[in-house]
Symmetry: C2
Subunit: 246 residues, 2 copies
């Protein structure tokens, strides 16, 4: 079995091998069929068609991914917030799958690095990030089925990004929450930018949160402010039991 | 194992036993947990709450079922119509899950028979049929998971009700198509109403289509016209290879 797998792996072109490895890192599992993902990153400007003459680009997959994302988020909210009525659930889902939020996710995964296009990514507009993110979800569904798609959305989107308290407006900023607690408890703290790379749309920041001289949380995001907020949220959960007792 | 099952079955109340049997007939499989389905048929006028004080009625399940239906229909259209772009897929899905269509489905399954309410079903309004139909889909998802929910939607909704040619407006009426073919081929035909029961909103018609003295198709629907059209469609597919050659 191992040998057969090796032969298959070797039969991949070097470009596909690199694509496979990068995908696996983002997905957290091995993709089966790279073609679905290639489609998810094909811009309409490539004017690709398949053997039957059907247009090949990421727009159809966007439709599919949007639907899968919608149903997984719906089920999550349904289970997570038993007190929320239909109106509440609808509103919360809209916030989670807002164009703005999807664009952020697409950027954070840096999916644009994979896009094949005849026009420069500069001309794509901001929404391309969210669009290819949706198409990517659609590709996962086609490649591995609903339950993988659901697992991916839970592990890579809901867990790190979906914070119901924040969406409800109960917690405006974890950073201020944490700073307040540190000051009250006389703990020293500071945020350290340890990574700052990429240019323009693809800029990325890595931030470490130190409390009493120890690194308690790290986060990466597309702005320093966002990375600090995410690190603060992670730090908050480290100390939650102590903070909530105050 | 058989004995254990029997004990469990016997531990059900007589009312639950009837409910279970009726549900099984509609679902095409055995439900696991009747509570989900009971919730799907609980009207807000019952003012039910659970142990935690959360409101219990079908409205939350509507939200969940709508999402599941949306994603299953999306995947079906995506696979079925490879030539359709994002705009086409979105439009077709809206037609399939239109309020009007969902109301028809709810009526055809006669789900309203299960509804628990303190107000008379007369005061529910037309949309109650579609709403409890969505809630029912939500209950299936909770009870049996996505793949059962998907199978149910394929078997009970897509296969008998979703006709892409008709939705595209290519075929206006299978009845006229079939009559035209019968006349051309000098075949005798007639539609026989063999079942006509229920009252008001719950009226049901059964129609048999006879061609050359043989019953070639049967259908049941909420109006005679609809039942004839569905029977004609089924008849059309029986003779499709002969009809298409003309």
């Amino acid at each position: 079995m191992r040998i057969i797998k090796k032969i298959f792996k070797n039969s991949r072109s070097p470009e596909d091998g690199i694509f496979f490895d990068k995908l696996e890192k983002i997905l957290g599992f091995k993709p089966n069929n790279l073609e679905h993902y290639k489609k998810a990153f094909t811009h309409r400007s490539m004017n690709k068609v398949d053997e039957e003459g059907n247009t090949v680009n990421y727009e159809r997959l966007e439709f599919l991914g949007d639907a899968m994302l919608g149903s997984v988020i719906a089920a999550h909210l349904f289970n997570k917030v038993p007190r929320g009525d239909e109106g509440y659930l609808t509103k919360m889902r809209s916030k989670i799958v807002s164009r703005e939020h999807l664009n952020e996710l697409g950027k954070d995964f840096n999916l644009i690095q994979f896009v094949e296009s005849k026009v420069s990514p500069k001309h794509f507009g901001e929404n391309v990030h969210g669009n290819i993110f949706e198409a990517f979800i659609g590709a996962i569904y086609l490649d591995k089925g609903f339950s993988y798609c659901e697992k991916f959305i839970h592990k890579k989107i809901i867990k790190p990004y979906v914070d119901i308290d924040r969406l409800e407006g109960k917690v405006i900023s974890y950073k201020s929450l944490l700073i307040e607690w540190c000051q009250k408890e006389k703990k020293s703290f500071h945020y350290e930018v340890y990574d700052d790379n990429g240019t323009g749309n693809l800029k990325h920041f890595g931030v470490k949160l130190h409390i009493d001289g120890k690194v308690v949380a790290k986060a990466r995001a597309t702005s320093k402010k966002k990375a600090e907020e995410i690190a603060s949220k992670r730090g908050y959960f480290v100390f939650q039991s102590q903070i909530d007792m105050k």
